[in-house]
């Protein structure tokens, strides 16, 4: 077992983990951060995307021990209480989700995308989200959601 200390959604967690433990499993099983979900076993779907020190990662492809000393933000920490992050607001407003299973990862990837590129074109959005699969929406309204979020956050197209 290895000791790790990670700030997750604003709270510090100290934990002893098996070295093989994936970050996503530690978040879900040890911390109860079940808003972050698993959709595949080949790092293709992106449903498990979280922010690690502000950048999006697929938490199925990161070991929990690699997050030692880092800051992790999940969908549950993006906005606290009844608050809404602009990306969350935009996804609701533009109907950018249906079943919602890809949504935590999609939102976190969009947050990262907009932090890098505050006013992305449609092609840049599609390219930026190509690691996150959705079966419900056909991505049309996800693209619109990200464009709308960019507007809300002050980016201009």
């Amino acid at each position: 077992m290895q000791h790790i200390s990670v700030m997750v959604d604003g709270t510090r967690y100290d934990s002893d983990v098996e070295p093989r433990t994936l970050l996503v499993h530690w978040l879900r099983n040890d911390l109860g951060k079940v808003g972050t979900v698993v959709g595949c076993d080949t790092s293709n779907c992106g449903a498990c995307t979280v922010l690690l020190d502000g950048r999006s990662v697929k938490s199925c492809s990161v070991l929990a021990v690699q997050a030692d000393g880092c800051e992790v933000t999940t969908i549950q920490g993006l906005a606290t209480g009844d608050d809404w992050h602009p990306v969350q607001t935009a996804f609701k407003e533009c109907h950018g989700l249906q079943c919602g299973y890809c949504t935590p990862g999609m939102v976190m990837s969009a947050v990262d995308l907009l932090s890098e590129n505050p006013s992305p074109t449609e092609d840049e959005i599609r390219d930026g989200l190509h690691g996150n699969l959705c079966r419900c929406t056909g991505y049309h309204n996800i693209v619109k959601s990200v464009q709308y979020a960019a507007d809300l956050m002050g980016g201009s197209k």
Binding site: N44, Q88, L129, R135
Partner: protein, 789 residues
């Protein structure tokens, strides 16, 4: 016809969804989130071989491992090894081999289940799976359907001669009707096997509930109500002791319209061990374990006069059942049986379908279920016929389709379409598409020999959905009915509980059902709570599939809401001291006709009915309305989908340059949700056309065994869509609505392939295998070049 769409306040508006707050904040309850004390984790020992005799199963090493609390094969599970049930024997002599949860004699597909292990953690269960020793004696694998039905083939089931489950015939008279045909187009199309591809893998938790006899099963399923019945029939557990809950479910697309062996095993083992049993699959496990769909070889003939008038169509299908019959495996291709003639008038239609067993994962319904295959066939054939006749493919369609003034119209397949307006949808689609400019560009590219050619793909589709009139289902030998239920309860504080038998997994029922009830009852949407997907709280229902939830369930909501008003009326009359017939109901309140100041709200009546201090004689306390509605007919949405396809003739790479679709789904409760359904459906149909396909090698090994090998399109692989709707209300459904969930997936696949073939037709190409990957397109081009050389 109802007038609520005119008077309602909430219906017909793009109201933002109630569901989204929790989904966007991660406050979700997926089955895999459920962690009960004392849970043991189930692991399945799956066959690595497509076809083999099981010589020996040795569980001893697994049982000796720390943390392992049980391991069973078919023999040791004994009479708890219940069968997966097929509820749709399509003919009197359909061969339906037993499908036990654990197979005992042979394995019949890669992923077939030989044994089950139970351990105190999921990782220990994984280790225990690896410790089970199974000796297999390989048998010849039956993979290809044409070979499977040929004499001398190995058999998947000894009871199924020629690997045939059934042969189904419909219609006739093709030869007579087409004797004078000037043109007969014959084609063989392959509608390839695909997966549902829901983002949430399947999961099950089964738990005995304390001191009672109840066992609760949480499952990522589309069909909690149907599942309760079939699990009871299969296991013998009294139905009243089973509670099935579908918590938040992350997509279904037909793939979770199933009774799966894992649900049986979790239930039986929870009972056996007296503690909660949990199973959640990996995605790679899902690829072999969850049913696949489509997979037809279609031999088609379409006959016409030289003027382009259709005379008849002949359809001969080989439909791949896979290794076993799941819940509606045999019936799935027959859901397309009535749809080959589609929107066209013709004199004769002759259909035959052979259900074929192979050593592959079972097939069953996936979004559209039989209708995408039929629509692909007819819309591709219309283009082929147009090319043969040298006429514009849209002109050929216009010449043969049912005109808007001819409804209701009984088709050659025997369905009566209530309404439709193909002219209006097509006119709007052509306007949005810019057909003339694109045809001009196509000509310019052809004339200049541009390596990137442009093609125009058309799909003027219809479908039958809103499953379904129970009598029709009975006539087709489906075991259950197609009704839907709703109960609406007024709570003492004036809030409303709306209990529905539909089981949403992304469709936004909580929002849309609230809109319907709000419009009728005059109670704000936020005061209406929609209860669903739990047989303990919503006991009656037929669940969600076949674009039925609004088309059928919506009618039940309307009827239940109307009954709430009627049940409240005598209490209102008593309070207002007038005759019930003197009351009118509007905007959530009863008032006396001609004296609008004398009124009482539904909320006030709810309290009066709760306190029951002053009810009229003979009126029982509490106010509710319940209704179970069997639909009068299917609903028949339609639309015109147009695709402009760029095809690089040097590399075979294609690009969707422009996609326009105008759908007619009748009245819309929430246009935003309707549009979202169209987007997702179109994307799934494009996925089949361009990217997706389950592939096996000759030995029955699954080559597309993970999402790294099976290509579900990403945002970068798809365009934005240009969408619109025409509105031709259904006359057989009380809200005037039609289904929408499957429409896009049915319509888009032939539009895309027609576009690619149109681009390449001058080169001699008449078909492209799906998925139209660069490789398949390039091969089609090379084959055509070779043929012309």
């Amino acid at each position: 016809m109802t007038d609520i769409l005119e008077t309602g306040t909430a219906i017909g508006r793009p109201i933002r969804r109630k569901e989204d707050a929790k989904l966007l904040h991660g406050r979700t309850n997926w089955t895999d989130n459920i962690q009960l004390p004392g849970t043991v984790h189930m692991g399945l020992v799956r066959s690595p071989m497509a076809h083999a005799r099981i010589a020996k199963v040795d569980l001893s090493a697994a049982l000796a491992m720390p943390g392992v609390v049980g391991a069973y094969d078919a023999a040791s599970l004994g009479d708890m090894n219940a069968n997966v049930l097929c509820v749709w024997p399509v003919t009197d002599d359909t061969v339906m081999p037993p499908f036990p949860a654990l197979t005992g004699d042979k394995v019949r597909h890669v992923g077939d289940v030989v044994a089950v292990v139970l351990a105190t953690s999921a990782t220990l269960a994984e280790d225990a799976i690896a410790a089970v020793e199974v000796e297999y004696e390989p048998l010849p694998a039956v993979v290809n359907m044409v070979d499977a039905v040929s004499p001398g083939s190995a058999l998947v089931h000894d009871a199924a001669a020629n690997n045939t489950s059934y042969v189904y015939n419909l219609g006739g008279g093709y030869d007579e009707a087409t004797a004078t045909a000037d043109v007969v187009v014959k084609r063989r199309f392959v509608n390839q096997r695909i997966i549902a591809g829901y983002m949430e893998p399947r999961a099950v938790v089964a738990a005995p509930m304390g001191m009672s006899d109840e066992i609760t099963v949480w499952s990522a399923t589309q069909i909690p109500h149907v599942l309760r019945v079939v699990l009871s029939l299969s296991t013998g557990i009294p139905e009243q002791n089973l509670r099935i809950v579908a918590p938040d479910v992350g997509g279904g697309f037909g793939g979770k319209l199933q009774m799966y062996r894992e649900e049986i095993l979790a239930l039986q083992l929870a009972r056996k061990l007296g503690r909660p049993v949990k199973w959640n699959e990996t995605r790679s496990e899902d690829m072999v374990a969850s049913h696949h769909g489509r997979d037809q070889i279609q031999d088609l003939e379409l006959a016409a006069t030289k003027d382009g008038k259709l005379l008849g169509m002949k359809v001969d299908l080989l439909a791949n059942m896979g290794a076993y019959l799941q819940i509606i495996t045999p019936g799935t291709p027959l859901l397309g049986m009535f749809m080959f003639p589609a929107i066209y008038k013709m004199d004769a239609y002759q259909f035959r379908c052979t259900g074929v067993f192979t050593n592959t994962t079972p097939t069953d319904a996936i979004r559209g279920a039989g209708r995408p295959e039929a629509t692909f066939a007819i819309e591709r054939m219309m283009d082929e016929l147009a090319a043969e006749l040298g006429v514009d493919p849209m002109e050929l369609r216009v010449k043969n389709w049912i005109q808007h003034h001819e409804f209701p119209f009984t088709t050659v397949a025997g369905l009566t379409y209530d309404t439709g307006n193909y002219e209006a949808a097509t006119a709007r689609a052509l306007e949005l598409f810019g057909m003339e400019e694109l045809r001009a560009e196509q000509k310019a590219r052809r004339d200049s020999g541009d390596p990137v050619q442009l093609g125009i793909g058309i799909s003027t589709f219809t479908e039958m959905c809103g499953l379904a009139p129970s009598r029709t289902l009975g006539a087709l030998k489906y075991a259950a009915g197609g009704w839907e239920h709703c109960t609406i309860r007024l709570l003492p504080t004036g809030k409303v509980e709306l209990v529905t038998g539909t089981s949403p997994h992304g469709q936004g029922h909580e929002t849309a059902w609230s809109q319907i009830a709000s419009s009728i009852l005059g109670i704000p949407i936020e005061d209406i709570d929609v209860i669903h997907s739990d047989t303990g709280r919503a006991p009656y229902g037929m669940d969600t599939y076949g674009s039925r939830s609004l088309a059928v369930g919506g009618q039940a909501i309307k009827k239940a809401a109307d009954r709430v008003i009627e049940n409240a009326r005598p209490i209102a009359a008593h309070q207002l001291e007038c005759a019930a017939s003197d009351l009118e109901f509007r905007d959530g309140a009863f008032s006396v006709k001609g004296d609008p100041d004398k009124s009482v709200t539904l909320g006030a009546l709810a309290w009066a009915a709760f306190s029951a201090h002053n009810l009229p004689d003979g009126i029982e306390p509490m106010i509710e309305g319940a209704a179970t509605v069997d639909p009068e007919d299917f609903s028949y949405p339609h639309g015109t989908h147009l695709a402009a396809m760029e095809v690089d003739t040097e590399t075979g790479k294609v690009r969707v340059r422009k996609y326009v679709c105008v759908d007619d789904v009748g009245n819309q409760v929430n246009p935003m949700i309707v549009e979202g359904q169209v987007h997702g459906g179109v994307a799934m149909g494009i996925g089949q056309a361009l990217y997706e396909g389950v592939e096996y090698d000759a030995d029955g090994n699954l080559l597309t065994a993970s999402l790294a090998d099976y290509l579900i399109p990403s945002a970068a692989d798809l365009p934005s869509f240009i969408t619109d709707r025409t509105v031709t209300p259904s006359t057989t459904h009380s809200l005037g609505t039609k289904g929408v969930g499957e429409a896009g997936a049915i319509a888009s696949t032939p539009a895309i392939i027609n576009g690619i073939v149109d681009a390449l037709r001058p080169m001699g190409v008449t078909d492209v295998l799906m998925p139209a990957s660069p490789q398949n397109v390039w091969r089609a081009i090379q084959a055509a070049k070779g043929a012309s050389a």
